[in-house]
Structures are given as structure tokens and as C-alpha cells.
């Protein structure tokens, strides 16, 4: 850089920036499906995972589908609006986990059922004061996020 004239330095930098953008775009393009953290129920049903493959599934816990078993086992359905996959899980759930809330589970398919070994909660960025939500619910105009 030191020995170059200013005009040449600008040219070198422009070339560098162009190469970087191109490299990033190519990597991003080739990995566009691999970078997703989880699969949606529609994706799981349309492109079934290999037998025994461990993957993550994510979506909303379908309202009315949550059944807490006798021990620590819970079953529920995860949905993305278009498709629904039944899930079974044994273990401790995060506090946020509930019907109508987002979740991401790690595990594998056994037949039609997704057997989860780990469940994470996913939430959106709408932080609302508790009083406001309670008031909205009282008036019956509250809509859960994502619904």
C-alpha cells in the first residue's frame, strides 16, 4: 500500500471489496438451506428426513394439543399453519413453553411422531407490559403474537 499512488490504492480497495462481496454472496448462496437453524413442519413433511436423522423442528405449539402425561412426558403438536407434526418429549420444559407459543425441538422422527430430546422456547420481539396484556384480555381484544 505504501508505495502505491492514491488512485491505485482506491482501485485496489475497490477490487478487494468486490472480491469480498462476491465471495460472501457465493458462500451464502451455496449454503442458503444449510444455515437454517430448524425446519418447519411443512419442510419435514415435504422432504422427510433420513431414518434416524437428528434435526431441529420449529413452529408454534398448536392450541389445544398440549397433553401433560403422568410423569415428565408431554405430547403436543407443532404447526406452521400449513402442516402439523406430533411431538413427544420427556424432560424439563422452558418457562415460556405453552400453547400458542413458539418452540424449537431437537430430536428424530419415529414413525409419524417427532421424539424430542431437547426443547427450546422461541419468542418474538414484542415486549409488552403485563398490565397492558391483562387489560386487553379483559376487553377480549388481545391477540397472541403470531396468531
Amino acid at each position: 500500500m505504501k508505495s502505491l499512488k492514491k488512485k491505485r490504492r482506491v482501485q485496489v480497495l475497490l477490487l478487494t471489496a468486490f472480491a469480498l462481496v462476491l465471495a460472501t454472496a457465493l458462500i451464502g448462496y451455496s449454503m442458503r438451506d444449510g444455515i437454517n437453524f430448524f425446519r418447519s413442519p411443512s419442510q419435514v413433511l415435504s422432504e422427510p428426513p433420513k431414518p434416524g436423522e437428528t434435526f431441529r423442528i420449529g413452529g408454534l405449539v398448536e392450541t389445544g394439543s398440549l397433553v401433560r402425561g403422568a410423569s415428565e412426558t408431554v405430547t403436543f403438536s407443532v404447526t406452521d399453519g400449513a402442516a402439523t407434526v406430533p411431538v413427544s418429549f420427556t424432560g424439563v420444559l422452558p418457562d415460556l413453553f405453552n400453547e400458542g407459543q413458539g418452540m424449537i425441538g431437537t430430536g428424530k422422527m419415529e414413525g409419524e411422531v417427532f421424539i424430542a430430546s431437547e426443547i427450546l422456547a422461541k419468542h418474538d420481539e414484542s415486549y409488552m407490559p403485563k398490565e397492558v396484556i391483562d387489560a386487553l384480555k379483559e376487553q377480549g381484544v388481545y391477540q397472541a403474537p403470531g396468531s
Binding site: N36, L96, L120, Y127, P129, K130
Partner: protein
């Protein structure tokens, strides 16, 4: 009057000496107001309880971690093209601050993730690109320390800064590119519809402004130190020759 006058070390030292107390006062007032408002005078959030108050540290520090790198990119480019030494020194001075901001954001993010998501860490696109940004800060500092010739060091770190910008951009926009991730979308952005309730939003804005001001204060102090240490080296070199 051109903006490039401030690239003159003497002019820079004069102006920054005058500006520092003002920025310091402003930063202290803004940050204290924002944090006290946010921590003590906001209601509990539905589902999240008092934990939501982490956003007053997490969001500003994550924003700064990315924006500090953007500032380093601009000053590095100015150095590479126009060869103003103060500009290179400002980039060098900003890096440790950006690293600390990255660490704060990672740490507070983990404290949020454990109770809310059920995990301290996941290899989610946004979290991962942010971690890589932190590693780039480390590499940037190491490269400055590894090269003796200051001009060569400024050149090479400038190029490294250019490369690292990819990850600064990625961690900012990862949630938009790959929407099937664990991390929620940005709490605030200029172009999106507002999601955060106003009671949390106003103190958050203050905290973000406070973090920006704090960064300006720190980077001015550190750049002044770098300029002085450069002068000292020049004096010592002259002494040895005499």
C-alpha cells in the same frame, strides 16, 4: 474549512480536548437516566417478567459491537486512501472498546437465553456470526500487536477490518436472511414496524444514545493516548539520533 483539517494531529488534539468534557457530561447524564429509568421505572413484561430489563444492556452493547466495527471500517478506509495517521490510530483505539461491547452482548445474551429459551448458547446463525465478529476483534488486536512498523500494521489491520465487515453485516442482518433461527428479530430498527411497547422503548433509546456517547468519550480518550504515545516515540527516536 474542510473536515480533513481534523486529521491534523495538532488540530485533533485541540478539538478533542475541548469536546471531551462536554461529551463526558452528556454521556453520564444520558446513560444514568436511561439505565435508572429502564431498571427501576418500567413495568414487568408479559411472559418475560423483570428479565426483560436485560435489553437495556444487551441491545445497546450488541448495537455498538457492530457499529464500532463500522466506524473502524470507515477510519481504516480513510487511512488506506488518504494516509491520515490520526484516522488509523482512531481505528486502533476503537477495537478494544468494540471487543468489550461484544463480550457484554454475548454474556447478557446468555443470561437471557438460559431462562427464556432454555439454553445458554446455540449455534444459531445470528449468535454464531456475532461470536465470529468477536473473534475478528481479537484477531485485529493481535495483528496490531504483531507488527512493529506502525504504517505496515495500519495497512494490514485496515485490510483485516474490511474482511471482518462481512461478519459485522451478517450479525446485523442474520435474522433477516435466515428467519428460521432461534434469536428473535431486532427490537428496534428504523425501517420496521415498532414491536417493543413504548414504556420500554423510550428508556431503551436513551440507553442506546448513552452507549454511543460513552463510546465517543472512550474512543477520544484512547485516540489521544495513541497520538501522545506516537509523539513520545518520535521524541525518543530523535533523542537516540542526537
Amino acid at each position: 474549512m474542510s473536515i480533513w483539517e481534523y486529521a491534523n494531529p495538532k488540530k485533533f488534539m485541540q478539538t478533542s480536548a475541548w469536546a471531551l468534557p462536554w461529551f463526558t457530561g452528556l454521556a453520564v447524564v444520558t446513560l444514568l437516566t436511561g439505565l435508572i429509568w429502564g431498571f427501576f421505572f418500567t413495568p414487568e413484561a408479559a411472559n418475560f417478567g423483570t428479565t426483560v430489563k436485560i435489553i437495556y444492556i444487551h441491545v445497546p452493547s450488541a448495537m455498538m459491537a457492530i457499529n464500532v466495527w463500522a466506524m473502524m471500517l470507515v477510519t481504516s478506509l480513510i487511512w488506506l486512501i488518504r494516509r491520515h495517521h490520526v484516522s488509523a490510530l482512531a481505528a486502533k483505539a476503537a477495537a478494544p472498546i468494540g471487543l468489550v461491547m461484544t463480550l457484554i452482548a454475548l454474556f447478557t445474551g446468555a443470561i437471557w437465553g438460559q431462562p427464556m429459551w432454555g439454553t445458554w448458547w446455540e449455534w444459531d446463525p445470528r449468535l454464531t456470526s456475532f461470536l465470529i465478529l468477536g473473534l475478528f476483534y481479537l484477531g485485529y488486536l493481535a495483528l496490531w500487536a504483531a507488527i512493529d512498523n506502525p504504517d505496515t500494521a495500519a495497512d494490514l489491520t485496515g485490510v483485516l477490518c474490511l474482511v471482518g465487515s462481512v461478519f459485522a453485516l451478517l450479525s446485523r442482518y442474520a435474522v433477516n436472511f435466515w428467519n428460521q433461527g432461534l434469536h428473535q428479530a431486532a427490537s428496534l430498527s428504523v425501517d420496521a414496524e415498532e414491536n417493543v411497547s413504548d414504556v420500554y422503548w423510550y428508556p431503551l433509546l436513551l440507553c442506546m444514545a448513552g452507549f454511543v456517547l460513552l463510546f465517543i468519550v472512550l474512543v477520544l480518550i484512547r485516540t489521544r493516548t495513541e497520538v501522545r504515545s506516537r509523539r513520545l516515540q518520535a521524541l525518543e527516536a530523535r533523542e537516540r539520533l542526537a
